[in-house]
């Protein structure tokens, strides 16, 4: 059978592989190469070695957006996972109307980042102006808080669904046995439920960390990096380096930053997977 299918590879693999080469492999390799070049268009690229990287590492705005992104990712990952887990616990506890709650909490995921960003920009600016505080575009701290609220609003529902699935897969006898042995609710939570949903925790923290690091649409729509690039996250910083300035050097800097960014995302997600996977138990 394997031989018969192998002969059909042009039908089965080629279309996807061709599109993948055009849409991913070729731009990726070219992107790697261009990060060592000075260029305005791809045809006019001259090789300059590590110059772009040297600039990227010295660029203060890059480091600022790195710390802004890192802090945001930590805060949003913790908040989203804790709240989503708490809601999932409540909803697996035979609460009335749990289907309605699930539906409502998940809803924001279907609305795109740009639209979400503007909905919250209008809402938060109105709240801030009623409180007579500076608007989002004038204060980076409010921008940070706004982004965190927005991300929580959007992602808690998604993570909650994954946690609910994890909690429901714990066999009932585990919990019953623990109850018969006289375990308290807290003991059941920390000794049985949490260890058994570790796979869900791995996935959810992976998703929230990578989403946090890659965040672009919401950042662009909610604050646009205002005031003066202070609420600019990494993805937006790279985008702005590329497209909001003209001059031969900027695109090279942008591409070098993008390569550093890419390596960071891969490293961070690998470290995270390693840490949480090691805590998983076999059921």
């Amino acid at each position: 059978m394997e031989k018969a299918i192998r002969r059909y590879w042009p039908v089965f693999v080629l279309p996807t592989l061709a599109a993948f080469s055009v849409g991913f492999i070729y731009p990726f390799v070219q992107g790697l190469y261009l990060s060592f070049c000075k260029f305005t268009t791809i045809k006019k690229a001259t090789f300059i070695g590590f110059g772009n990287y040297a600039y990227a590492f010295q660029d203060e705005s890059f480091w600022h957006s790195f710390w802004f992104t890192a802090l945001f990712t930590v805060v949003s990952t913790v908040l989203i996972n804790v709240i989503a887990f708490a809601i999932a616990l409540a909803l697996t506890n035979k609460i009335k109307g749990s289907n309605v709650f699930r539906t409502v909490f998940f809803m924001p995921n279907l609305i795109g980042g740009i639209v979400l960003g503007y909905i919250w920009q209008i809402l938060l600016n109105c709240v801030l102006s009623l409180m007579e505080k500076p608007l989002l575009a004038l204060n980076a701290t409010y921008g940070f808080i706004g982004l965190t609220i927005l991300m929580c609003w959007q992602q808690i529902g998604y993570m909650m669904i994954i946690y609910i699935a994890g909690l429901q897969s714990i066999p009932d006898d585990y919990i019953e046995a623990a109850k018969i042995d006289g375990a308290t609710t807290g003991q059941i939570l920390f000794k049985i439920k949490i260890p058994n949903v570790m796979p869900s925790i791995t996935i959810c923290s992976f998703l929230t960390i990578t989403n946090g690091f890659k965040l672009f649409d919401q950042n662009l729509a909610l604050t646009g990096g205002e005031p003066a690039h202070a609420s600019e996250m990494l993805a937006l910083n790279i985008y702005n380096t590329f497209y909001s300035r003209s001059g031969a050097q900027w695109k090279g800097y942008g591409q070098a930053k993008a390569v550093i960014f890419c390596i960071m995302v891969i490293l961070i997600s690998m470290i995270q997977l390693k840490i949480t996977k090691s805590k998983e138990v076999q059921q």
């Binding site: 693999v13 849409g23 709650f101 102006s129 994954i162 869900s200 791995t202 985008y239």
Partner: protein, 280 residues
């Protein structure tokens, strides 16, 4: 003990209800303001329900539909989403079958690359991807689906191969012995079995395709084509006075179809999200 538990449950219920209000309110706020006249939407009145003076019916909606290119953007978004989703489903399921059933260097390399592509951030390739698309004329809503196939293949292949590993080989072998060629086997035997995964992949990819902003923004010819996210960004991003009424109506018209679709397909969407979460 019983009474205590009842109280606890009531408290949890109330907390959840409050949270629900917090979840619904932003959309509700856009809805009420989309029914108000433009000059009645400012920071003082934004939280008020429309009253006899400020209520303008659906005129904002008509405005948005007639003048702001909303209908065209909606159409382009629809074309891109449907064509890309169909292409992704068809091509990646076939590719995934090959990868699971044929053990060789091609399968291994492809699989590794697909998984790798899921972690790489878009910024890494945005410039080169846009210029590649420009060079080989993939910059219209009708053929941008090829780029989406390339970029969306990772997740789809990953999900399909995950499910295919659990399909017993004997069914396919029986079909082959009965005289099916690999294409017949795939379309008549494998594809029907894949149905649940097909639905999951459709949902996850559609959510992404419909809402994607940066890829179409960079790849499409901006003067000719706008998708909905680009239209809304364009609305707000341009300096000067923003017509809040039509803007809110635009947002509502984007959001309402999605919410209706979600309420109808909830069961599948939730299953799809859980199935998609196997990655990691």
């Amino acid at each position: 003990m019983k009474a205590k538990e009842k109280v606890a449950r009531a408290i949890v219920f109330v907390v959840l209800c409050i949270l629900t209000l917090f979840w619904i309110y932003p959309v509700f706020m856009i809805l009420i303001n989309s029914l108000k006249g433009d000059k009645y939407i400012n920071t003082d009145t934004v939280f008020q329900l429309p009253n006899a003076v400020s209520f303008t019916g659906f005129s904002n909606y008509l405005d948005a539909l007639s003048s702001k290119g909303f209908a065209a953007a909606f159409g382009y978004s629809l074309v891109i989403t449907v064509s890309s989703a169909v292409l992704i489903l068809l091509c990646t399921s076939m590719c995934a079958w090959y990868i699971t059933r044929v053990h060789g260097i091609l399968s291994k390399v492809c699989y590794a690359l697909f998984v790798f592509s899921m972690v790489v951030p878009f910024q890494m390739l945005m410039f080169t991807l846009a210029s590649t698309a420009d060079r080989i004329d993939l910059d219209t809503p009708y053929n941008i689906c090829i780029i989406y196939l390339g970029f969306g293949a990772g997740l789809a292949v990953f999900m399909f191969t995950g499910f295919m590993k659990s399909i017993p080989l004997e069914i396919e072998e029986a079909a082959m012995i009965d005289g099916c060629n690999p294409l017949q086997t795939f379309f008549q035997i494998v594809l029907p079995i894949l149905k649940p995964t097909l639905i999951s992949v459709t949902i996850l990819e559609t959510m992404w395709l419909w809402n994607d902003y940066l890829l179409p923004y960079l790849v499409l010819d901006r003067k000719k084509y706008m998708t909905i996210p680009i239209l809304i960004q364009y609305f707000r991003g341009s300096y000067g006075h923003v017509e809040m009424g039509p803007m809110m109506a635009c947002i509502m018209m984007t959001v309402i179809p999605i919410i209706i679709m979600y309420i109808c397909l909830q069961k599948y969407i939730i299953k799809g999200v859980i199935a998609g979460a196997v990655k990691g």
